[in-house]
C-alpha cells in the first residue's frame, strides 16, 4: 500500500513523512541527466550535470513548491539543458526492491549502507568524492564527482591500439593509487574490490578510487570479516590467502590486488587470468569452491608456495589443495623483464620498479609491503617521477577516449513512476558492463569486464 493512502489514525508517522517528503528536493531538480553510463546487479549509473541554482527548475525543497515535490509529477528528462558549465557528476541509482510490479521498501542493502557510511566519513584527493545522497521514490541515489576515465579503459586503449603505456603515466597512476589506498588503510578501511574498472581517473589526470560497496571498517570488528562476506575481491585480483580460504585477513589483500593492477598496467592484460569456479548452491562449506585455476595462474608466475617463506600457510583451510597443483619455479623476474619498458640504460630504475612488484606479490600477507611503506619505496625517486597529473606523461596529441554515454530510449528514466519502473536488472548495453561502480559481494565474484 503506498504511504499516501495510509490513514493518519493508524499511522503515527503519517504527518512526519508528509513533512519530510515535502522538504526533499528531487534528483531532477538538482541535476540534469546527460545519459546512461553502466549498470550492474546494484542498479545503474548515470552521467549528469549540476543545475545552476538560478535555473527556473527551482529545487522543490528549497523553494517549497508543493507541486514539484509531489511524487509522480516529475520533471522531464532533459539532455540538452543549457548549464554547460555545471559540474559533471555520476549518479548511482540503487535498484529499488520490487514485490511483483510494485516498488516497495525491503531494506537498504548492506552494500549500499557501507558505501554511504564510509563515503560520508572520508575525504581524500584520490578517493571519489560523494557529493550527496538523495532519496526519492523508494530509491537511493548516490551523487559522485565525475571521472572521465578508469584504469580498465586506459589499459584497453593501449592494448587495442597496440601502443605502450608510457612509464611516466604508469608511475603517476600507481603513485596516486597507492596514495589513496594508504589513506583508506590509515582509516581502518579495506577496499576489498580493487581492480582496474574500479580505479577512476578524471580528465585532469587525477586517480580517484571508486566503489566502496565492498569496503569495510576493520577496527575491532564484532565478528570475523569472513562471517559477513564469504567472497571478496574479483577473482583475478584475489590474494593467495583469500584463495586458500583465510578466515581472518588484513589490508594486505588490497596490496596483492595492487600488485595485480601494476602487472596489468605493464602487460596490458590481466596478470593472473584464471577461470572462476562457480559457486555451487548447497555445496560443501557453504558453497565456496576452491579457485583452483586462479591459484594455478598465480603459481605459474610467482612459483609454488614455499612453507618456509609462508609458515602459517599450513593453517589455511584449503592448504591441502596446494600439493595438487603443478610445481613451478618463481619466474616473476622474467615475467617483469619481458614487459618492462624501461630503457636498457635505466637498470637501477627497472630494478627498483621490479622490487615494488615483488614486494606486492609476496605470498605471506604479513611480509607483503604495506600501502604506507610503498609510498616511500625507492622506485618513486627514480626518473620519471610521478606527477599529480598522470596525463602529462602522454605523448603530445595522445589522449584517452571519453566514457561512452548511451541514450537508449527504451531505458526507463529516472523520472518514471513507481508503477512502471522496470529498472534494468543488469540488462543494460554490453559496453556498460565492467565500467565503474560495480557493486556488492555477488558482483565481486563476477567477471564483468571487456575481454582482451
Amino acid at each position: 500500500m503506498p504511504p499516501m493512502v495510509a490513514s493518519a489514525a493508524t499511522d503515527g508517522n503519517f504527518a512526519y513523512r508528509q513533512r519530510r517528503d515535502f522538504q526533499r528536493p528531487t534528483v531532477l531538480s538538482r541535476y540534469s541527466i546527460l545519459g546512461f553510463l553502466s549498470s550492474g546487479t546494484y542498479g545503474r549509473v548515470y552521467k549528469a550535470r549540476v543545475r545552476k541554482p538560478s535555473s527556473d527548475m527551482s529545487p522543490a525543497g528549497l523553494m517549497g513548491t508543493p507541486g514539484a515535490a509531489t511524487p509522480g509529477k516529475r520533471l522531464k528528462l532533459a539532455r540538452d539543458d543549457g548549464d554547460d558549465d555545471g559540474e559533471l557528476v555520476a549518479i548511482k541509482k540503487f535498484k529499488p526492491d520490487k514485490e511483483g510490479e510494485a516498488v516497495t521498501y525491503t531494506g537498504i542493502s548492506q552494500s549500499a549502507c557501507r558505501e554511504i557510511m564510509i563515503n560520508r566519513e572520508i575525504s581524500h584527493e584520490h578517493v571519489t568524492a560523494l557529493r550527496e545522497v538523495m532519496l526519492e521514490e523508494k530509491s537511493i541515489y548516490l551523487v559522485f564527482e565525475y571521472a572521465e576515465h578508469d584504469f580498465l579503459q586506459i589499459i584497453h586503449h593501449h592494448s587495442s591500439t597496440r601502443t605502450v603505456l608510457p612509464v611516466a603515466v604508469l608511475k603517476s597512476l600507481l603513485w596516486q593509487l597507492f596514495n589513496g589506498v594508504s589513506y583508506l588503510h590509515d582509516n581502518w578501511i579495506i577496499h576489498r574490490d580493487l581492480k582496474p574498472a574500479n580505479i577512476l581517473v578524471n580528465s585532469a589526470g587525477q586517480v580517484k578510487i571508486g566503489d566502496l560497496g565492498l569496503a569495510r571498517l576493520y577496527q575491532e570488528p564484532l565478528q570475523p570479516l569472513y562471517t559477513s562476506d564469504k567472497i571478496v575481491v574479483t577473482v583475478w585480483y584475489r590474494s593467495p590467502e583469500l584463495l586458500l580460504g583465510a578466515r581472518h585477513y588484513t589490508p594486505a589483500i588490497d596490496l596483492w590486488s595492487m600488485g595485480c593492477i601494476y602487472g596489468e598496467l605493464l602487460g596490458l592484460r590481466p596478470m593472473f587470468k584464471g577461470e572462476e569456479a562457480k559457486v555451487e548452491m548447497g555445496g560443501k562449506k557453504g558453497g565456496v569452491p576452491f579457485q583452483r585455476d586462479q591459484m594455478s595462474r598465480v603459481v605459474e608466475v610467482v612459483g609454488s608456495v614455499d612453507r618456509n617463506q609462508w609458515p602459517t600457510v599450513t593453517q589455511m583451510p584449503e592448504y591441502n589443495q596446494l600439493p595438487r597443483l603443478d610445481r613451478h619455479q618463481d619466474t616473476l623476474q622474467q615475467w617483469f623483464n619481458s614487459r618492462s619498458r624501461n630503457s636498457p640504460q635505466d637498470q637501477a630504475a627497472a630494478a627498483a620498479g621490479f622490487d615494488l612488484l615483488r614486494q606486492l606479490l609476496i605470498y605471506d600477507p604479513t611480509k607483503r609491503i604495506t600501502a604506507r611503506a610503498s609510498l616511500t619505496h625507492q622506485w618513486w625517486a627514480h626518473d620519471p617521477k610521478p606527477h599529480a597529473n598522470a596525463f602529462l606523461g602522454l605523448p603530445t596529441g595522445v589522449s584517452y577516449p571519453m566514457r561512452r554515454v548511451t541514450h537508449d530510449e527504451s531505458d526507463p528514466k529516472l523520472s518514471s513512476n513507481a508503477g512502471r519502473g522496470t529498472f534494468a536488472s543488469g540488462g543494460g548495453s554490453g559496453v556498460a558492463s565492467g565500467l565503474p561502480f560495480g557493486g556488492g559481494p555477488v558482483r565481486a565474484t563476477k567477471r564483468s569486464r571487456l575481454d582482451h
Binding site: G12, T106, I116, E220
Partner: protein
C-alpha cells in the same frame, strides 16, 4: 575518520550544546513535564536494549542504535512521531552499520514481541513499514552512520585494547602509562557507560570524556583494593562486560553495607591514593575536568531520575514527587561536592 575522532562526522556535526537539546523538546513540553521527558529517554534506551538483545546484537550495536535514536529526536518531537517504529528502525540500521546485520523480518517480529509486552499492540506487522522508516531515519542522520563510543576509549585507557597498533584519540597519547583497573572496576565503568545511554550525554560530550567520567564513577563506587573493601565482584556472564547496568549490578550483589535504594549516596568518600592511584592517573590526562565533572553530575542526576521512574512505576506516587525536586540538571548539592573533591584537591 575511523582512525581519528576529531576528523569524524561524530565530532564535527553531532556534538551539540545543551541548549540545542532543550529547544528540541519545545513541542513535547506542551504535553509532558521535563521529568517525564527524561523518563522517555530512559524508557527508549531500555526498549532499544531489549530489542537488540532479542536480535542477538552486541552492546556496541545497542549503543549505536541509541545514538541514532537521540539524533533523530534532536530534530523531531516524540509527540509527532511513532517512537516505537523509530526505535526499531534505529536497531535495524545500527545492526547494519556495525556489520552484524539482521533480517528486516526478524527485526519486525522481535519488535512486535517487545512492544506487545509493553501493551503497545500497534506496532506494524508489515516489513515495509520498518524499511520505509529506515529511509527516513538515515536521511535524518545526514547519512552519518559511524559512531564512536566510550567503550573503546575505556578499554584503550586501561590498555585492554589489543596492542599498540590500536590507536585512539585518548589511547595514543597515554599509551606509555596505562590506567591499572581490575576487572571489577573495569566492569563497573562499563556498566556506568551503559547507563549513560539512558540519557542524551552522547549528543553533548565526546566519548572519551564520558569514558573518563565513567572510570571516575567506577572508582568512587568500587574503590581500589587499597580502600579495604572486600566486595565480591558482580556476577558476570564470563563473556566480558555485558549490557547490564550499574544499577542492576548493585541490585544483584554489591555489598550490603550501603543503601541500595539511593545509588548516588554510594559515591562515598573518594578513594585514597593507593599504589595504583587512579585519580592521579586521571588528572594527568589532558582533558577538561570541568566537563568530566559535569558528566559525573549528569549521571548522578540520571540515577535519581531513574529511581523516581521506578518508584513511580511501582505505583508509589510518593517516590515520584519526592525526587522531582531538583529536575534533571541538578544533583543534590552534597553529592556534587563529594564527587568534586578529588579533582580539586
Amino acid at each position: 575518520m575511523a582512525a581519528n575522532f576529531y576528523l569524524s562526522s561524530h565530532a564535527n556535526y553531532h556534538l551539540h550544546p545543551r541548549s540545542a537539546l532543550v529547544s528540541a523538546r519545545q513541542e513535547d513540553l506542551k504535553h509532558a513535564t521535563e521529568q517525564e521527558l527524561g523518563w522517555i529517554e530512559i524508557w527508549s534506551g531500555s526498549v532499544i536494549q531489549k530489542l537488540c538483545k532479542r536480535l542477538g546484537l552486541r552492546q556496541q550495536v545497542i549503543a549505536t542504535a541509541i545514538v541514532f535514536f537521540r539524533r533523530f529526536y534532536l530534530r523531531n518531537s516524540y509527540c509527532e512521531t511513532d517512537c516505537a517504529l523509530v526505535a526499531a528502525a534505529c536497531c535495524y540500521v545500527a545492526a547494519k552499520a556495525e556489520e552484524t546485520p539482521v533480517h528486516v523480518k526478524s527485526a519486525v517480529a522481535e519488535a512486535r514481541v517487545v512492544f506487545n509486552d509493553m501493551g503497545l499492540s500497534s506496532f506494524p506487522t508489515d516489513n515495509t513499514k520498518l524499511a520505509e522508516m529506515e529511509f527516513y531515519l538515515i536521511e535524518e542522520l545526514d547519512f552519518h552512520l559511524v559512531i564512536f563510543h566510550p567503550y573503546r576509549s575505556l578499554v584503550q585507557l586501561c590498555g585492554r585494547d589489543g596492542g599498540p597498533t590500536a590507536g585512539g584519540e585518548v589511547g595514543k597519547a597515554t599509551r606509555s602509562a596505562m590506567l591499572e583497573m581490575d576487572d571489577t572496576a573495569l566492569q563497573m565503568a562499563w556498566f556506568v557507560i551503559n547507563d549513560t545511554f539512558r540519557s542524551s550525554l552522547c549528543l553533548i560530550h565526546p566519548p572519551h570524556l564520558i569514558a573518563i567520567a565513567a572510570i571516575y564513577l567506577a572508582f568512587s563506587l568500587h574503590p581500589p583494593p587499597s580502600a579495604n573493601i572486600t566486595a565480591p565482584p558482580p556476577a558476570t556472564t564470563g563473556s566480558g562486560p555485558s549490557s547490564r547496568t550499574r544499577r542492576q549490578s548493585i541490585d544483584s550483589g554489591v555489598p550490603s553495607s550501603s543503601t541500595p535504594a539511593a545509588p548516588p549516596a554510594r559515591t562515598g568518600p573518594p578513594p585514597p591514593g593507593g599504589q595504583t592511584d587512579p585519580i592521579t592517573f586521571l588528572s594527568t590526562l589532558n582533558v577538561d575536568y570541568t566537563l568530566v565533572l559535569e558528566i559525573v553530575q549528569e549521571v548522578i542526576s540520571l540515577y535519581e531520575l531513574w529511581n523516581a521512574l521506578e518508584s513511580s512505576a511501582a505505583g508509589t506516587a510518593a517516590g515520584a514527587s519526592a525526587s522531582s525536586g531538583g529536575g534533571k540538571a541538578r544533583a543534590g548539592t552534597a553529592k556534587t561536592i563529594a564527587v568534586k573533591t578529588p579533582f580539586t584537591s
